[in-house]
C-alpha cells in the first residue's frame, strides 16, 4: 500500500525561528568568525585599528527562519575583502565561510 508524506510546513517554519535554531546559527557564525580572525591580514602598526579585530556576530530572521551573520565593522573591510585596482582581494569572510563548510547566498 502506498503512503503519502505531507510535510508540516508551519511546523518546519516554527522550528526554523525557534530559540534552538537561533542558538545553532549563532554557534556556526562564531566558528566562521574564529576562522576569519585567524586568517585576516594583520598590520600591528595600522593606526586605524585592526581588521582582524573587527568581526561581529549576530542572529537575525530571514524569510521566516533564523540566520547567523558575521560582519566587519572596519570601514575598509569591503576593500580588504574584495580588493581594489591596486590591492588584491583577500576574501577573508568568503574563505572563512568555505572553511566552515558554508557558502554565501547568491
Amino acid at each position: 500500500m502506498a503512503s503519502r508524506f505531507r510535510p508540516n510546513t508551519a511546523g518546519i517554519l516554527a522550528f526554523g525561528r525557534s530559540e534552538q535554531m537561533a542558538t545553532a546559527m549563532r554557534r556556526r557564525a562564531e566558528v566562521v568568525r574564529a576562522v576569519a580572525e585567524s586568517s585576516a591580514p594583520f598590520d600591528p602598526e595600522d593606526p586605524d585599528g585592526h581588521f582582524r579585530d573587527s568581526f561581529e556576530v549576530a542572529v537575525a530572521e530571514d524569510r521566516g527562519v533564523a540566520v547567523g551573520i558575521v560582519y566587519t565593522t572596519d570601514p575598509a573591510g569591503a576593500y580588504i575583502e574584495l580588493g581594489t585596482s591596486d590591492t588584491p582581494a583577500h576574501h577573508t569572510l568568503h574563505n572563512a565561510l568555505a572553511a566552515a563548510g558554508l557558502r554565501t547566498r547568491g
Binding site: A78, L82, T84, S85, D86, T87, A89, H94, T104, G106
Partner: protein, 134 residues
C-alpha cells in the same frame, strides 16, 4: 608516471571572454588592472575554490570587477560579463567549462585608488581538462 594538471582557468576564461565580448568591451578583460587603460574594462581573478574530483574537476571561485567611466557604464559592463560567463560552458583548447553559477553578483563597490565606478561579481566555474591525456 605522468601527472595530469588542471587547466589554467584564468587564461582559459580571459581568452574566451575576450573573444566573446571584444566588440562590446573596448577596454577588454584583464588579469590585473592595466597601467594604461581604456574604459569600460573588466578584471578577472581566481579567488579560490576546490578540486571537486582532483585532479580532474575543478570548481573555482572567480571574481570579476567591471569598471566604467560612469555607474551606468560599469553596470552594463558587469551585466555583459555575467551574460558572457553564463554562455561559456563548452570545449576550449585549454579545457572544458561545464557550468557557471552566480555566487554574489553586481555588488556596488567604488574603487578608491582610481575613483572609478566598479561592480564586483563572484561566480563559481566548473572546469576540467580537455581530455584524459591533456
Amino acid at each position: 608516471m605522468s601527472l595530469r594538471l588542471l587547466p589554467d582557468l584564468e587564461q582559459l576564461l580571459i581568452g574566451a571572454l575576450n573573444s566573446e565580448v571584444a566588440a562590446m568591451l573596448p577596454g577588454e578583460v584583464h588579469n590585473e588592472f592595466p597601467r594604461n587603460y581604456v574604459l569600460p574594462l573588466a578584471v578577472l581573478t581566481r579567488a579560490g575554490g576546490e578540486g571537486m574530483v582532483p585532479p580532474w574537476l575543478d570548481r573555482a571561485r572567480v571574481q570579476v570587477d567591471a569598471y566604467g567611466t560612469t555607474w551606468e557604464q560599469a553596470r552594463d559592463a558587469a551585466a555583459l560579463m555575467l551574460a558572457a560567463l553564463h554562455d561559456l560552458p563548452g570545449t576550449y583548447e585549454l579545457g572544458i567549462v561545464t557550468a557557471v553559477r552566480d555566487e554574489n553578483v553586481m555588488q556596488h563597490s567604488p574603487d578608491p585608488p582610481t575613483g572609478l565606478p566598479r561592480y564586483v561579481s563572484i561566480v563559481s566555474v566548473w572546469v576540467h581538462p580537455a581530455s584524459a591525456g591533456s
